[in-house]
């Protein structure tokens, strides 16, 4: 499982980086969301992969941490997901405004001389 998840993180991260370096704003926004998936999974996996652990305290089990999924990376990633949505929205609106102002969807706000 570990190798599958690591490869998944790598492929999504790599695709995201490729899109980040592209010239069109839409490519960059998709790139950012792919990169965000990769990074969220990466942070989440810092709690290591364990199957069949309880996510919520079961009083009859007691509170031995070994029975439960690691809550800390989850809390971190949960906020990251929501903030990621907010930045995507902000970026989308900025790119729309930039497109309206400059007439192009190039990331620099103007078409390069030759492409």
């Amino acid at each position: 499982m570990e190798i599958v998840l690591a490869l998944a993180i790598g492929i999504m991260g790599g695709s995201g980086v490729y899109l980040l370096l592209r010239p069109r704003t839409f490519q960059v926004i998709i790139g950012l969301s792919l990169l965000a998936y990769a990074v969220n999974l990466f942070i989440f996996s810092m709690g290591r992969l364990n199957l069949g652990r309880a996510p919520v305290i079961v009083p009859s089990f007691g509170s031995n941490p070994a029975f439960y999924a690691d809550p800390l990376p989850q809390a971190l990633v949960l906020t990251a997901i929501v903030i990621g949505f907010a930045t995507t929205a902000l970026f989308l609106v900025v790119l729309l405004a930039s497109r309206g102002l400059t007439g192009t969807d190039h990331v620099d706000g103007r078409e390069p001389e030759q492409e």
Partner: protein
């Protein structure tokens, strides 16, 4: 308390002054005058407490953990200086009332004037070195604002900028010096620093500290070679020149040198740096003053020279010289401020300050002239006046200073020559302006100013006379108190008297007088002569050259090291990240861990084969097939949220899923405003080679980044987990947080403050999106209805430009059945979202998920029903939801204050209720309710604002006709 009041009053006055109407000259003057007078009287009332060597202290805790407090400290020396600042401030306010013209906006003047006074008092009274540096910089800022008071004048702006650059650079250096000094002494407290003289002088950092502090003091006091800013600061209104640039602010440098004299002086380095700068300024300033054309120019260079005299005295390393320096600080303030006032009066009454044009004003303004005579005589060092006394002390110090060979003779000689220059320029100042034939071509016919304008000057001149004749009975005790405060109990005996008998210093005084008169006569024969030797040396030109050099250099560096192109910048960022991550792997080695891995599950592998294919395909298609890329990236997101389910993170899976939906809708709404696909590529045009090369390069970089991420993830996943803080949360969630869902307890209880910050950011982003869209102007070609929509509208043969009918029972169009279902869905979705919210503390769910579910339900109404139809029935005010959510969360957190606990401490109640049974109530639920409302508001606001853009352009008129809002 009195101490605190002395500083607070001017700042409070400054705030009040800023809000008075711009023509309230009298109100402003009364306010400023009363504030200054009150500060003066308060300071005076403290004299009995310091006169016997006592120290008054006041302190407010500021950051006690760091050993910092806002502390004030008044000893005899600080008292003398504070008195000087406050009393001089009072006099200058009276003068300024009559100097400022009715057209000048006085609130700005008096506001900055009082702010300066507060800052200067802060410098003087600070008991903490860092705090003193802060006030020091405040005086530089106030000086900047006051020099640039007439900001329509280019010389005022340039002068202000130059003064700020030089003095603020000095302030920065001073901060460095003070930090080192505090480190050496073990505290920034002035008392402790002053007690650590031996440690500091023998410390290896001593030269660095001396250099940094001396740079700060010398720039502030306009000492050679940093003196050039002061003449350019004369563009300020004359009251400012009189107050800041002769009496007080420029004295901050010498104040500091005297303040730290007990710990820093006594070494050869001190002698050469401080004494050397002082001697150069003394001679060069006096020399240049002789050749100035502007009355204020003469006074500015003379100020440099006199400050040089004080600096030189401080640099001499003898206690008697220190006494003379303190004495001259007071004397110089008195006669120079009164001369500045005279220059201002002349300027005010005649319209010019040019020595060439002015002449014979004695007849028109005899009182002004008499006052100026006396003050100038004091400046020249004529007997019976205060300037003579301190200058004589200075001469005698130069004579008796124990230095080897050349310095033994050179110093008295240089002092006498400077004295000669000083006599010459004083004489010229008087002779050109007041004596000689009466000038006829002046811009205004001169006459005596109003009595109130003369009063401050007259008081100062009276002081010059009284101190000059009866020094021991007027200034004597105060001087003794001040010097004892610096030197301690072993202060030397000295005698203050008008006449000490005929000795070498007196001889030097008289030869300076005679030489000065001779020099004046010689110079009169060659009118229009420019300063020989120094004509080419120009500090201003050097400053300008340095400034342009730095500017163009940094521009060039920016061009060489950076790029305007985002792609290049991102390439650098990614490159640095890859190399930075690779470096430790290469140097420290790379290995996989030994933790046993889980066997791969076929379904999981299949899921990620699809997920990874989606990600790669999205990257491949994002340029020309945006919709496909969006759906594909959603596929990768789905795989991500299923992974969360797989590894026991239901909260994350829920959030990811709902965010996925909302993001997809958001980007879909945005797609419409992006340009069409480039036609060239559809026609099969070949991609240029340069583009293909770049894509290949980026593919390589992306592959490297991806492999690095995968390798890093695998290397960590195969190592055993470290002991983090997670067990704490698992163990304490139930006993401390009262919840079973640990993730939710962390978010709303343990780390509630983080969540509070996060929802604030979310609210800000939503409002920013809304604000940006209000100004949104789409590109012209995107304004028309998209092809798909117009074809759809036209499919039933109806008109293409039809408008939705808000009164219809169901939304018009092709989605009638979904419309019914979606309407039924709304209450159900609301119920589900509340369910998630309420159970969040004990089971997967919570405010974030609940809020997103409700927002999705609302957005569905819009998607299916259309904006106009939905808003005719359902009005959501997302801004209110954001505000209420933030307020609710804040109130839930602040409620803990009522119980005397810190912000966001949770309170809960657990018990039985009739009918409802066992129940658990907690303020945490209120907090989560705030999160819920804010998430609903922010999400809906962003999406609806974007959706409204389609309405704005072509439906605007129709909407207005129906009275709807756009």
């Amino acid at each position: 308390m009195t101490l605190l009041l002395i500083i607070l009053l001017p700042f409070a006055g400054s705030l009040c002054a800023a809000f008075l109407p711009s023509n309230a000259r009298n109100a402003e003057a009364w306010l400023a005058g009363l504030v200054a007078l009150a500060s003066t009287l308060l300071t005076a009332s403290l004299y009995p407490q310091v006169s016997d060597g006592g120290v008054v202290r006041a302190s407010l805790p500021w950051a006690p953990e760091l050993g910092l407090s806002f502390s004030l400290r008044l000893d005899g020396f600080a008292w003398l200086f504070a008195m000087l600042v406050a009393a001089m401030g009072t006099l200058v306010v009276v003068y300024a009332r009559y100097y400022m013209s009715p057209a000048d906006p006085v609130p700005r003047f008096f506001s900055f004037f009082l702010a300066f006074m507060g800052a200067m008092l802060g410098v003087v009274l600070s008991g903490n070195l860092i705090q003193m540096t802060m006030f020091w910089e405040l005086t530089s800022l106030a000086s900047f604002m006051l020099i640039a008071y007439w900001h329509h004048r280019v010389d005022a702006r340039r002068g202000a900028r130059m003064a700020l650059t030089v003095t603020a650079a000095g302030g920065l250096s001073l901060l460095g010096g003070v930090l080192l000094l505090g480190h050496m002494a073990g505290s920034y407290d002035l008392d402790i620093v002053l007690d650590s003289a031996a440690v500091i002088r023998s410390h290896p950092w001593y030269p660095a500290v001396l250099g940094l502090i001396a740079f700060g003091a010398l720039t502030k006091s306009a000492q050679f070679p940093f003196h050039f800013w002061l003449p350019h600061a004369m563009a300020a209104p004359t009251p400012v020149s009189a107050y800041l640039h002769s009496a007080t602010m420029v004295k901050a440098g010498v104040f500091l040198l005297a303040r730290l004299w007990p710990v820093l002086s006594g070494t050869d380095a001190w002698f050469w740096i401080v004494g050397g700068a002082g001697l150069c300024s003394l001679v060069i300033g006096a020399y240049l003053a002789m050749f100035q054309e502007d009355m204020k120019g003469v006074l500015a260079y003379s100020t440099i020279s006199h400050l040089g005299l004080i600096t030189l005295l401080l640099g001499m390393n003898t206690q008697l010289a220190l006494v003379a320096a303190v004495f001259h600080i007071v004397n110089h303030a008195a006669f120079k401020a009164s001369l500045f006032m005279a220059a201002g009066i002349v300027d005010h009454e005649t319209g010019t300050r040019n020595l060439k044009r002015l002449s014979g004003l004695y007849r028109a303004m005899p009182i002004t002239a008499t006052l100026a005579f006396v003050a100038a005589a004091s400046m020249a060092g004529v007997p019976l006046l205060n300037g003579f006394l301190s200058k004589e002390m200075f001469f005698s110090e130069t004579v008796f200073l124990q230095r080897p060979d050349v310095q033994r003779i050179g110093l008295p000689l240089a002092a006498t020559v400077a004295g000669m220059f000083s006599v010459a320029y004083s004489l010229r100042f008087i002779a050109e302006v007041f004596l000689g034939p009466q000038a006829t071509d002046l811009p205004r016919a001169p006459h005596e100013p109003t009595r109130w304008m003369l009063l401050p000057s007259a008081l100062l001149v009276l002081m010059c006379l009284l101190v000059g004749v009866f020094p021991a009975h007027t200034v004597g005790p105060f001087l003794k108190t001040a010097t004892t405060a610096i030197l301690g109990a072993d202060a030397p005996a000295y005698s203050l008297a008008m006449w000490h008998g005929f000795n070498l210093p007196v001889l030097m005084s008289f030869s300076a007088l005679a030489g000065g008169i001779l020099l004046h006569v010689l110079l009169r024969r060659h009118p229009g002569i420019r300063a020989p030797l120094f004509g080419r040396f120009d500090g201003k030109r050097a400053f300008d050259l340095a400034q342009t050099g730095i500017m163009s250099g940094s521009e060039r560096a920016l061009r060489a090291l950076s790029s305007r192109r985002l792609q290049t910048q991102l390439l650098l960022v990614v490159g640095v990240a890859v190399v930075g991550a690779l470096y430790p792997a290469l140097t420290a080695g790379w290995s996989w861990g030994t933790r046993p891995v889980l066997p791969p599950h076929p379904a999981f592998v299949l899921m990620w084969v699809i997920g990874a294919a989606c990600a790669v395909a999205a990257a491949w298609q994002a340029k020309h097939h945006r919709f496909a890329a969006l759906i594909l990236s959603g596929g990768a997101g789905l795989a991500t949220s299923l992974t969360f389910v797989w590894f026991s993170a239901p909260d994350l899976a829920l959030t990811q899923l709902t965010v996925e939906v909302v993001t997809a809708v958001l980007i879909l709404l945005g797609l419409r405003w992006l340009p069409r696909r480039d036609e060239r590529f559809r026609l099969g045009e070949r991609v240029p080679l340069s583009t293909r090369v770049r894509r290949a390069r980026d593919t390589l970089i992306a592959t490297a980044a991806g492999l690095g991420l995968a390798g890093l993830a695998y290397a960590i996943l195969t190592r055993p987990p470290t002991d983090g803080i997670s067990p704490f949360f698992v163990e304490r969630a139930l006993p401390d947080g009262g919840g079973l869902n640990v993730v939710n307890v962390i978010l709303v209880d343990f780390r509630g403050f983080d969540t509070f910050g996060e929802i604030t950011v979310l609210g800000i982003v939503a409002l920013t999106v809304y604000a940006l869209l209000r100004r949104f102007r789409p590109a012209p070609e995107s304004v028309a209805l998209p092809r798909q929509q117009s074809e759809q509208d036209g499919a039933d043969g109806d008109s293409e430009e039809r408008l939705p009918d808000p009164a219809a029972l169901l939304p018009d169009g092709y989605l009638m059945l979904p419309a019914v279902i979606v309407r039924l869905l709304l209450p159900l979705a609301t119920l589900v979202s509340l369910f998630f919210l309420l159970r969040g503390h004990n089971a997967p769910g919570g405010g974030f998920v609940g809020g997103l579910v409700l927002a999705t339900a609302v957005i569905l109404q819009y998607i299916v029903g259309g904006t106009v139809w939905v808003e005719s029935r359902l009005r959501i005010h997302p801004q209110y939801w954001i505000a209420l959510g933030l307020l609710g969360a804040g109130t839930a957190g602040g409620g803990a204050w009522l119980a005397g606990e810190p912000f966001l401490s949770s309170r809960s109640w657990h018990g039985e209720l009739p009918l409802l049974g066992e129940i658990h109530l907690s303020t945490v639920l209120l907090f989560d309710l705030g999160v819920y409302m804010l998430v609903v508001g922010a999400t809906v606001l962003m999406l609806v604002a974007l959706a409204h853009q389609s309405l704005r352009s072509h439906h605007r008129k129709a909407m207005l006709a129906r009275g709807g809002f756009v």
